[in-house]
Symmetry: C2
Subunit: 768 residues, 2 copies
């Protein structure tokens, strides 16, 4: 944990340049627009430690898997997010000297991520040889209005000299992934074009054959006047450049504008990419940098209108939550149902940039409450489209008859992960995908989704569970052997309570969905029954499993057992451990972690969170009191669920402690790994902590429920909720709650058990 | 499984050349002498598929580990046996045409491994362009008399032409390992010398800095007369060669003799290697090929005298068992206590050529019964010398106070393996190492070993067990969580019966050894007690653990449970499976294997085999009847233990079936993987099947016990037993047993429960 960023409500600010922090800052200051994104690499050359990263959403490479010892069933390929064409590159030489912050003295360095308006800015003064000082102001963004466009304003002011500037503005597609398993480059050149007006390079990924065309145009403005220039053109493999010179004048500002368009064959015909890229570039040039930027600010204002959280009295908390919301909105916009939310968004390569169960378990609630329902719907349709691959995946593991196992990690529906204890055994993810459907329908009341897409997925997952359990005749119960639960600090256990419960819950929910469709649209039901080949034998079997599922439970303590044999462990509280052992995953060997009682992230408690209404407060309390003290929260996804449950149980201090562990995870580099990228999916958990935790927000029986309480450290907090056509702004302070309805849709709300109505375009204040 | 080798009692014979079989034959026809060995690569160039392999015992390279997902505690390096200088190379060109069996028509090809005399021979006729036929006879061996010497007799007879022969005789150290993780070469050149008389190359391994000097001399004999020649010398990096020409005459034999010495810094000062290599070479030249070969035959006769098994009436079984004994004797001679028995011997690279628990569990009995006790003692001392590293290894996993965990795989005492479920959890290996001490002392009565070396190891292993168990107060029992038993088709189970039992047994045995030393040599005991810091608290704790160890057991069936929860599995017999699923490890995903009941190799039954006398026949029967039908024997180490127990239980057919699965494993390429090398350690299991199984041989209370029975397919079988100074030849037929004492040491023997004595230099025949 290292705090070097300045506190501010709307911006992330780094003052002073420390190369040691640079890779962390490259992650934190990342920009993206759902279509593309990039780490906060410098535009000019930088020979210090850096992780170059420019990513195009959905463009991936199936890198050949690398394992130590192969296990039958491992996937051959691991889908990787691709470092793509570097379009920001500006090599800057002044009086023949290269501008390189790794080599020159730098002062007044400020890097700012303006979250309100959606751009990255950097200013500094570098000292060249002979004491020549030059001031640089670089501002850039990727447009959320014109998704394929990025623009840079790069300003150069010599403070105490006149001299020659030489600029090389380039597109470089000759890039690598740091995490390439066999040190390969993943891009091949298709074509390039370089005229004195513009330059473009078109490349294609090996194997997957995604084509990316990038086009650039560079402009020069001196002391406010546009300067015409005739660049020297050059090219190398997968690289094109414009080089031009210009006379810098003391104290006069010279500005380089660089515009780029990045278009891919995911969105357009490969053959027309060059033309489309030129059209997009042309569009950007017509608008110009300032117009593009002002449109960007307007569009971000719209996003904030729906998703902002305001915390008063705690700037660190305010900055933390806005950073999380900003990164989520940069990562996924929900407009493309082929995309999903990678665990690092556009901020790094790690984990393959792929889809995990994080999406359904953590991200979906954020998008449900802060955006148009079609965005959440697209997240569900993403899985619907992968159903066939999920069935194939299950077949590879020996399942039959349409049983589906959704992958642990995926880009295109195929499994990418290869640790047997995760890939093959962490099957509870299948339950989360079913739960996502429930969550979406419960929230939006879009029950049509069930007959249209939902049931196909639910039946296939139910079939998996029905085949995965085994009946133990001596006990007349169904069991589930050899699984890994959400707590990945246990592997290959028998009867993980959460997995058994979410499996039976899936069967229950699937049957209830079938009943609903049968009741409301018999013809459609018959059609689905026939298409999906659902028989009464099959559903009877499901009913039998539901009734006879085995749930490990300790009568005496009244707790669900995380798995069979859990109580045979030595039960120790985390606070009894010498802190030198923490984090366990860096200090203990794997076997020691496994046989210990220590819990990585919510497991039994994940079930109590998901299926909250099934359990009485006493049960939640007993389980929380038993498990939380043994939990080390070494997954970024852990603290939020504990914070929410602690809020529900009235454990105020624990709730705030857990909130702090999630809110500034990347800003303060809590886990000492932010240089790899931000923990994007867990950011949604932070949002949940505020809204579901402190806000006590949930939707039950089509009712919007709030049970807010406010941490003592805050004077107030407010959040937005999009709910069935209404947009509510909910402000909580110590003695009252005010709900402002920003739409005309009158909305009933249950606050601390009492029903109220927030009329359209009105406010409601309830004093406690 | 593919049978292409000819049956013969004393030789392995391949008739006809099929490139498809070549790599398997390269493994099967391997030659070795304990100091060095090599695959049966061709001397002349071969451009077809081949795995080049020449290995020097104990010379290894710590190749950087390659894993998919790193777990804390993994070793950084994996010790690899090294493909070393190719000293057999002879490039043969006739009339300008290269002799290459991948390219020329070949007939009358016969490859023979003469196991009686210890050499490899190959004859064939190749047809060159224009129908020129040339007959080749190549014979070579590595001397078991002069360990550092190898010799080749390579005979060339043109059958229908005169023509020019051009020979390049070379040493090539510019070789690679096929299994190099990062495609590196592991050898660097130190120096080379090439005169017209001889040539040598000295290379050093990276990191480990083993120096290997190889020296060669080539001679030419035409039609029986030695021909002087003046070779052209040449050299490249890590390569030296002599090239010379000679006129071949139709139907006259030209013979190339190539002598080589290979000496390493493991045995000599690095600075004197060149001189020593020349001395060794000189010695070989003075003896000449025929003398060297006749000494080789004599030395092998001595080995056979102690270790041969004769099976009458079943040539396949005879050939199989002799092949196993031959390979074991080629692999390990026991003269060097720094060496051990790699799972592939000198026949391939796989598994790193390192030491596994196979040594104590499978190989030790073979060497105990067929060789001087000092050889077995050296195997024990090998582990004694690694004690410090085993303690370090345990420390890395969090153990303290001198607890030792011997590695799963090692070359120098450090752990090399990196699958967490094996490396960290397959800890029963520690028990096998303790059991090896028991086994050695029980067999040899060398009780002095205990105070000298044994107790140090036993105490350290006992300390490991005492820390590894955890006390479950609610049950007042000690448990062992998170282990992998010998059945590697279960991972991370709780209370593997075998592991719990061998752990408690270790504690029992260690305490009994302490008592023995205390009683027989109090002074030495006091010294050891003080050196090892043994306290009465510690031994009391051991006694407590012994008394309260938890053993999973099913009362109703009267069986020990392989682990907690085993009976919750679906229990299916292997013969109920559709054969298309077998072998499981090639057809099922790992999770499916894990949650199935199917057993890879003896687990509970391994305990019944090791601690045989603890269990009554009824218990053995119940457990065998329960577990064997669920056992798939997908480890080469499995059938032998089952064969032995089946013999004891009188299950004759099962015993013979299991014997067949082990005896010709490599000759018939049963597991379809012999091209990687032979299953050397399991060959000792085959020997055990005959001697301990069919022979019913064991040593108990200093008594030699025999309970023989003969498979119906055999007319008789006989084996040798070295026992406390006596060498007994035991011949079993259907109606009698004859024991011939080949020494003067009178030896009592209990046959089928009746005590007899075999007098010195006498025979005893007992009719049933």
């Amino acid at each position: 944990m290292k705090q070097y960023l300045k506190l501010d409500e709307w911006s992330i600010i780094e003052e002073g340049f420390d190369p040691e922090n640079h890779e962390v800052s490259e992650s934190v200051f990342s920009i993206g627009n759902g279509h593309m994104g990039q780490r906060a690499n410098f535009e000019e050359d930088y020979t210090g430690k850096t992780l170059q990263g420019s990513y195009m959403a959905g463009v991936y490479y199936p890198d050949k898997t690398r394992v130590g010892w192969w296990k039958n069933g491992y996937p051959e390929y691991f889908a990787k997010v691709l470092n793509s064409t570097n379009w920001i590159g500006l090599n800057i030489a002044i009086e023949g000297e290269n501008l390189d912050l790794a080599k020159l003295p730098v002062r007044d360095f400020v890097r700012t991520l303006n979250m309100k308006e959606g751009y990255l800015e950097r200013t500094f003064i570098a000292t060249l040889s002979g004491g020549k000082e030059v001031k640089i102001q670089a501002k850039r963004f990727v447009s959320i209005v014109d998704k394929e466009v990025g623009a840079i304003r790069y300003s150069i002011t010599p403070l105490n000299f006149n001299g020659e500037l030489k600029v090389t503005s380039y597109l470089d597609a000759d890039v690598k992934n740091k995490d390439a398993n066999y040190d390969e480059k993943f891009w091949d050149e298709v074509s390039k074009e370089v005229t004195t007006n513009h330059a473009s390079v078109t490349v294609v990924t090996k194997k997957t054959e995604y084509v990316l065309c990038s086009t650039m145009k560079t402009e020069l403005v001196h002391d406010g006047l546009k300067v015409a220039f005739n660049p020297v053109v050059s090219e190398k493999e997968k690289y094109v450049a414009h080089t031009f010179a210009h006379g810098l004048v003391e104290k006069k500002e010279t500005v380089i504008y660089k515009y780029a368009a990045n278009v891919t064959s995911r969105d357009h015909e490969a053959s027309s990419l060059a033309k489309i890229a030129m059209d997009r570039l042309q569009g950007a040039l017509v608008k110009g940098f300032e117009t593009l930027l002002s449109e960007q600010a307007d569009a971000w204002a719209e996003k904030w209108k729906e998703s902002d959280i305001v915390i008063e009295g705690d700037v660190a908390a305010q900055q933390g939550i806005r950073f999380n919301i900003f990164q989520l909105n940069q990562t996924y916009t929900g407009e493309d149902d082929r995309l999903n939310i990678g665990p690092k968004g556009f901020t790094g390569e790690k984990y393959g940039g792929s889809t995990y169960w994080d999406t359904e378990a953590y991200c979906l609630p954020f998008y449900l409450s802060t955006a148009d329902p079609k965005i959440s719907r697209n997240l569900l349709i993403y899985r619907y489209k992968h159903l066939e691959k999920a069935i194939e995946n299950a077949e590879k593991l020996g399942f039959t008859d349409g049983a589906a196992l959704y992958p642990m990690v995926t880009m295109n529906g195929e499994e990418s992960h290869n640790e047997w204890e995760i890939t093959f055994e962490e099957i509870h993810r299948n339950g989360a995908i079913a739960y996502g459907i429930y969550n979406y329908v419960n929230y939006t009341a879009d029950k049509d989704y069930l007959a249209e897409y939902g049931l196909d997925v639910l039946v296939a997952i139910s079939r998996f569970w029905a085949q995965r359990v085994n009946y133990v005749s001596s006990k007349n119960q169904y069991m589930m052997l050899g699984v890994t639960g959400p707590n990945e600090y246990e592997n290959n256990v028998n009867n993980n309570w959460y997995t058994n419960r979410i499996a039976a819950w899936t069967l229950e929910y699937t049957l209830s969905v079938m009943d609903y469709i049968k009741e409301t649209d018999k013809a459609r039901f018959d059609e689905l029954e026939s298409k999906l080949k659902i028989s009464s034998e099959e559903t009877s079997k499901w009913v039998d499993i539901i009734g006879k599922m085995y749930y490990p439970f300790d009568e005496e303590m009244g707790i669900y057992l995380q798995q069979d044999g859990f109580l045979d462990k030595e039960l120790i509280r985390v606070d009894e451990l010498d802190p030198k052992h923490l984090p366990l995953n860096q200090n203990w060997s794997w076997d020691r972690i496994l046989r210990s009682c220590f819990i990585k992230q919510a497991d039994v408690l994940q079930g109590l969170y998901f299926l909250n209404d099934e359990f009485d407060m006493e049960t939640k309390k007993k389980n929380f009191d038993f498990y939380e003290p043994m939990t080390v929260h070494e997954s970024s996804l852990s603290p939020c669920v504990h914070s929410i449950l602690a809020c529900e149980l009235g454990y105020k201090e624990k709730a705030y402690e857990m909130y702090l562990r999630t809110a500034r995870l990347d800003l303060d580099n809590y886990n000492n790994d932010t240089e790899d990228g931000c923990h994007t999916t867990s950011m949604a958990g932070t949002w949940m902590s505020v809204v579901q935790g402190f806000g006590g927000f949930k939707v039950k029986n089509d009712q919007l429920i709030l049970n807010p309480f406010i941490p003592g450290e805050w004077s107030s907090f407010s959040f937005k909720i999009v709910f069935r056509g209404a947009l509510l702004n909910i402000k909580v302070s110590a003695d009252e709650i005010t709900i402002t309805n920003e739409t005309k849709v009158s909305t009933p709300v249950i606050i601390h058990g009492t029903k109220h109505t927030v009329n359209g375009s009105a406010s409601l204040t309830i004093q406690y």
